[in-house]
């Protein structure tokens, strides 16, 4: 399964949820699949998607927002692995992190990450996260539905193929505009 195929499934499944997306190719590909105000694209904040989603999940703990979804990559998570023990400690019930794991830094020349020999889902489980797994479109649809129904923190560990979708335009919008658009969307629900 290519990343863009996984993102098509996730976009379809998260139209009513706030989604925090890791930087570079993942944000660009999600915006190309569906550019919606419930998406917060982190244009250059490396490794921060899980932390931002953690803060949002804490902030909407008592609001009528079902889940806060982070879409993270293995390389980005390895830049800020504190997300996992922090989630295990704080236990934000609404936090659902989807880890798209291709075992390479997809935005930096496909250099390998540790994930080729490291089970990040297992690391999350050791930190106290509930873990679901998927490796093809069918299991991703089913596992996302399960993860959405489970109390967080939940990590959905998705094995995908390396490589970026071709001819996807850069995401050049002002981050202030992207942030305000997301905030306004969330304010209508929270």
């Amino acid at each position: 399964m290519r990343r863009v195929e996984a993102l098509e499934i996730l976009a379809d499944a998260t139209a009513d949820l706030p989604v925090v997306v890791t930087c570079a190719a993942t944000s660009r590909e999600l915006a190309a699949v569906a550019d919606r105000p419930n998406h917060l694209y982190l244009l250059d904040a490396m490794g921060l998607a899980g932390s931002v989603a953690t803060g949002l999940a804490l902030a909407v703990a008592d609001a009528p927002v079902e889940r806060v979804v982070a879409i993270e990559g293995d390389g980005s998570l390895l830049m800020n692995p504190n997300v996992l023990p922090t989630g295990g400690h704080l236990r934000p019930r609404k936090l659902l992190m989807v880890l798209l794991d291709n075992a390479v830094y997809g935005s930096t020349a496909d250099l390998p990450t540790y994930a080729a020999g490291l089970d990040l889902g297992g690391v999350a489980a050791a930190c106290g996260w509930a873990v679901r797994r998927a490796d093809d479109p069918g299991t991703l649809r089913r596992a996302f539905a399960e993860a959405r129904a489970a109390d967080g923190p939940v990590l959905l560990h998705v094995r995908i193929a390396p490589g970026n979708a071709p001819d996807v335009p850069r995401l050049l919008e002002d981050p202030v505009v992207l942030g305000r658009r997301f905030r306004d969307w969330l304010a209508e629900r929270a």
Binding site: A45, G47, S51, T54, G55, A63, N82, T86, G179, R183
Partner: protein, 183 residues
């Protein structure tokens, strides 16, 4: 059992953080701000370093992400830390909090100045005000020359300033020669 009264300056910082309107406060430990943390946790009905609204984080960059996200949901966060942690946090502060115009209050004790015992830490600490200024982060400094009530007022108003400017704002607290611990 009631909690012991915190040192005056630490208590003033803690009251200032609540009066700044912080909904949640994350901290990265430092001996100098430990009495601040204790006062925050006690005021919030917690114990052992955590309460419903106060919690530890492992590193400063994740603190900027976790607490910095709150304005996106209509809230306001604060971070308590030590100033050498800005070396870990600058990328997050500039590419997230500042770039997305998200207010955040950061209160950091300083190291490497008067009263320092560590022969290395000044190599970063002495440049923190300049580094923060260079990347456009507004900074207010507090030291022994003003009393606890001034520290309280500055911390509280720095929170208002962060929201007014839609930016992260830093208060650098020099505890040397106060009733707190400078290093």
């Amino acid at each position: 059992m009631t909690s012991p009264e915190p040192p005056a300056y630490a208590g003033a910082v803690a009251r200032g953080l609540w009066d700044a309107g912080a909904d949640l406060i994350g901290y990265v430990p430092s001996a100098s701000v430990a009495p601040v943390i204790d006062a925050l946790v006690a005021a919030d009905g917690g114990a052992r370093g955590s309460s419903a609204r106060v919690f530890p984080l492992s590193r400063e960059e994740e603190a900027m992400g976790v607490l910095g996200a709150l304005p996106l949901a209509g809230g306001f966060g604060a971070v308590v830390m030590q100033d050498n942690g800005f070396g870990n946090a600058l990328t997050a502060l500039t590419t997230f909090n500042a770039a997305y115009h998200l207010p955040l209050l950061v209160v950091a004790n300083t190291r490497g100045g008067l009263g320092e015992y560590n022969s290395m830490i000044h190599t970063f600490g002495q440049h923190v005000p300049g580094l923060l200024d260079r990347v456009g982060l507004r900074t207010f400094e507090l030291d022994r020359r003003s009393g606890p009530e001034d520290w309280h007022a500055v911390v509280a108003e720095a929170g208002a300033h962060a929201r007014m400017t839609f930016r992260p704002v830093v208060v650098l607290a020099h505890f040397w020669a106060t009733d707190g611990r400078g290093a």
